[in-house]
């Protein structure tokens, strides 16, 4: 029996889908059998980020309503043999599926896959309830902004009531802004939210480029965000990996320039 992990945040635009895609891929990279499930019905994105949009035949609603078998709706990734995705429907609404139906689908997937990564829609309404229904654990994604932390707190409260244990990923950290005090720092966020920190992901332009080209960032080992996601995936498997330093290591040339006072 595998484990179902929902990636959620409350607030939109903090990087749930990006995180889902990258963690799913990173787990596959570590040799795990993974299925990603997009529950953002009506606004599906996960397929775009993964570059699998043109391979979709059936979707989650089709499975829920019995128009196809679960296996028929799964889209195999183009990079990994052991990585699959169950897309959301684009033409339907979140009300068209019930939490019980999603729970059954997740339960079915858990029999076959080691990890089921559920991409949750923004908000705390029906879409959220659908996504959380079958989850064993949750990953909360937040960014170092007050609004995102508030919403994360709200979602953690709801998850506590549903007794789903949650861990935290702080996304899009800019070292320079944290250092100058313009951005909330990690300790501050952890103090308010009071849940375990699973990892931090630095703000990286490569993430946007990767999402647009349908290639998850995590495939590009030169990206700092990619390393961060890989570390998080290893922590999910139980490895002890230290948090990555926020400051980019300065190269010899940079240090030399700094020494001369022109860096």
């Amino acid at each position: 029996m595998g484990e179902a992990i929902v990636v959620t945040s409350g607030k939109g635009g903090v990087g749930k889908t990006t995180t889902s895609a990258n963690l799913g891929t990173a787990l596959a990279l570590l040799g795990k059998k993974v299925c990603m499930v997009d529950t953002d019905i009506g606004l599906r994105n996960l397929d775009v980020v993964m570059g699998l949009e043109n391979r979709i035949i059936y979707d989650l609603i089709d499975v829920a309503e019995g128009r196809c078998r679960l296996n028929q709706a799964l889209v195999k990734d183009k990079r990994f043999d052991e990585l699959y995705m169950l897309p959301a429907a684009q033409t339907k609404d979140k009300q068209d599926v019930s939490p019980e139906q999603v729970r059954d689908i997740i339960l079915e997937l858990k029999k076959e896959f080691e990890y089921v990564v559920i991409d949750c829609p923004a908000g705390i309404e029906q879409g959220f309830r659908n996504a959380v229904a079958g989850a064993d654990r949750a990953i909360i994604v937040t960014t170092p902004e007050n609004a995102a932390v508030r919403d994360a707190d709200r979602v953690i409260g709801l998850l506590e009531q549903a007794s789903v244990p949650a861990r935290l990923i702080i996304n899009r950290i800019r070292a320079s802004m944290v250092k100058s005090g313009e951005m909330l720092d990690i300790d501050e966020i952890c103090q308010v939210l009071a849940i375990d920190l699973l990892g931090i992901v630095p703000d990286d332009e490569k993430v946007i480029k990767a999402a647009n080209s349908g290639e998850p960032t995590v495939m590009d080992p030169t990206s700092r965000a990619a390393i961060a996601y890989r570390n998080i995936a290893r922590r999910m498997l139980g490895d002890m990996v230290p948090l990555m330093p926020l400051e980019e290591k300065s190269g010899v040339l940079k240090r030399f320039r700094k020494f001369l006072g022109i860096g």
Binding site: N146, R150, D151, D153, R154, I156, G157, L158, E160, Q191, V192, A194
Partner: protein
């Protein structure tokens, strides 16, 4: 039974008096009572209905514990509990500090805790969360959300917290938003109170000036 006896049974004109020791553990009492009624004092149990007075000494029992006592005595068929007396001073209900609700955990955004009386939260109150109660509010942790003390109009209540960083504070019908100068670096315990209809914040050590309840020590 070789141990010390905790229960003395005396016969009086009206029936029986059970004198229960008030220093031992309550569970010991229950056990011994059961033993005595079932094993050693069988002669009591035959015959007509007997009225029983139970005297607890200075022990104070909860409603639940009283019920346990009654059940054991009643189980014997012919014993009728007439009264259970305790010489313990009754705990006054309305005195502040007694009706206190203890909560452990984090009150998160979107969550509300309401209570009649005083409230002690062991944990944080996060922004977006609220605590509402008719009495005082004490937070052993960071108060970052909304706290409303004295919501039924009591103006003599306080809101105290280990770290007072509220989004909003209300006492009775006075609503106050922290001015920026509240947010100081030092993390000392503080409390909010009403002074002539205006909300004030002060260090915890000043609370005794507001509440003149000297603590008397027995020498």
């Amino acid at each position: 039974m070789t141990e010390k006896q905790h229960i003395t049974i005396k016969g009086v004109k009206e029936g029986l008096v059970f004198l229960l020791d008030d220093a031992c553990d309550f569970s010991v009492l229950l056990e011994e009572l059961q033993y005595k009624l079932e094993k050693s004092h069988q002669q009591l149990l035959t015959g007509p209905i007997v009225h029983v007075q139970v005297k607890l000494g200075s022990r104070h029992l909860s409603e639940e514990e009283l019920e346990q006592l009654r059940t054991i005595i009643r189980a014997q068929g012919n014993l009728l509990v007439q009264s259970i007396e305790s010489e313990a001073p009754a705990i006054p209900e309305d005195e502040p500090g007694n009706n206190i609700k203890l909560l452990t955990g984090i009150v998160r955004s979107g969550q509300t805790v309401e209570h009649e009386g005083n409230l002690l939260l062991m944990g944080d109150l996060n922004p977006g969360g609220s605590l509402l109660c008719t009495g005082d509010i004490y937070v052993l942790g960071a108060l970052r959300g909304l706290a409303h003390a004295g919501k039924d109009g009591r103006t003599d209540v306080v809101i105290a917290a280990s770290l007072l960083r509220p989004t909003q504070l209300r006492i009775a019908d006075v609503i106050s938003r922290p001015p920026d100068e509240w947010i100081t670096g030092d993390a000392s315990m503080e409390f909010a109170y009403l002074n002539e209809g205006v909300m004030k914040i002060d260090k915890m050590t000043q609370l005794n000036r507001l509440r003149k309840q000297p603590i008397l020590f027995k020498a």
